[in-house]
Symmetry: C2
Subunit: 170 residues, 2 copies
């Protein structure tokens, strides 16, 4: 192992997302991440500043990913809703952090930019602001409830579609 890790930042955010997905944001330990990456306990601080910095990086990555996912889903509001839910289920570590201001540096420039990118991607799909808010609310609510176990079933998409359809109707 060389003195320089080479790609510590990327390794840390990836490991952080996994850890958050498994044990929640509170169960995240910077020292553990450092051990997993094979670096000293103080190495992360250089890249991220503090714990909130790591989670801010994860959230930023999440918003960027979400924006790309939404764009890929096309113009259909229902398809976008399904994509939103699938994103949350596929990236629970990112999702758990993205909307929790108490964990993040909310005024981070990169974060804000990524937030706006996904907001814009969503706003472009709905006919008006109210419809966009409604679509966002259902998709976000369903995803949250599903991840918390409050709503469950054999298949996420199958469970989500009838719910999303109630708002996505033209």
């Amino acid at each position: 192992m060389s003195y320089h890790h080479g790609d510590l930042r990327r390794a840390m955010t990836a490991a952080a997302a996994t850890a958050v997905a498994e044990r929640g944001p509170a169960g995240l330990s910077l020292r553990e991440l450092a051990r997993l990456a094979g670096v000293s306990h103080a190495a992360p601080a250089h890249h991220f500043g503090d714990k909130a910095g790591v989670l801010t990086a994860v959230a930023t990555e999440g918003f960027t990913l979400l924006a790309a996912t939404l764009k890929e889903a096309g113009d259909d509001l229902l398809a976008a809703g399904v994509a939103y839910v699938r994103f949350a289920v596929d990236h629970p570590g990112h999702f758990a952090v993205m909307f929790d201001r108490s964990l993040l540096h909310a005024d981070d420039a990169d974060l804000r930019e990524a937030e706006q990118a996904s907001s814009a991607a969503l706003a472009g799909l709905a006919p008006d602001a109210s419809a966009a808010r409604a679509a966002w609310s259902v998709a976000h609510g369903f995803a949250s409830l599903w991840l918390s176990g409050a709503i469950s079933g054999p298949d996420v998409v199958a469970a989500a579609e009838p719910v999303l359809r109630r708002v996505a109707l033209p």
Copy 2:
């Protein structure tokens, strides 16, 4: 100050809810709560076992409160949705904890009972299971997004109503 506090359990849950509302679940310190209550740092452990036990008590209180709030709102699905959102905004500390399994003792008997009470209160309002899920999703999603700052405005209820109406239509 006497040796016995007298109502430590209640004092702790109340202080915990406030602290979570202000700084999030991660910013909660059992020792700080103990200091606020004027007891030693190990006193909480007797009542709650551990940190998750405190948050489980807060979540249980939240679900009980939510069930009562929903019942009070009457039979109208829209009114119930508004009540749900208002509950989240009025009790952000409780709400932040209720749906995060990673913070709780998810199999706690009292918690499960309170969960089911609020689930039942909600299920009684909708014509079928799908409608109930949809209503729950919008209300929950809007509340979450509002609390995170993703959706904002001068008045919560005014912002929530048009969104909730899209799903509550008969």
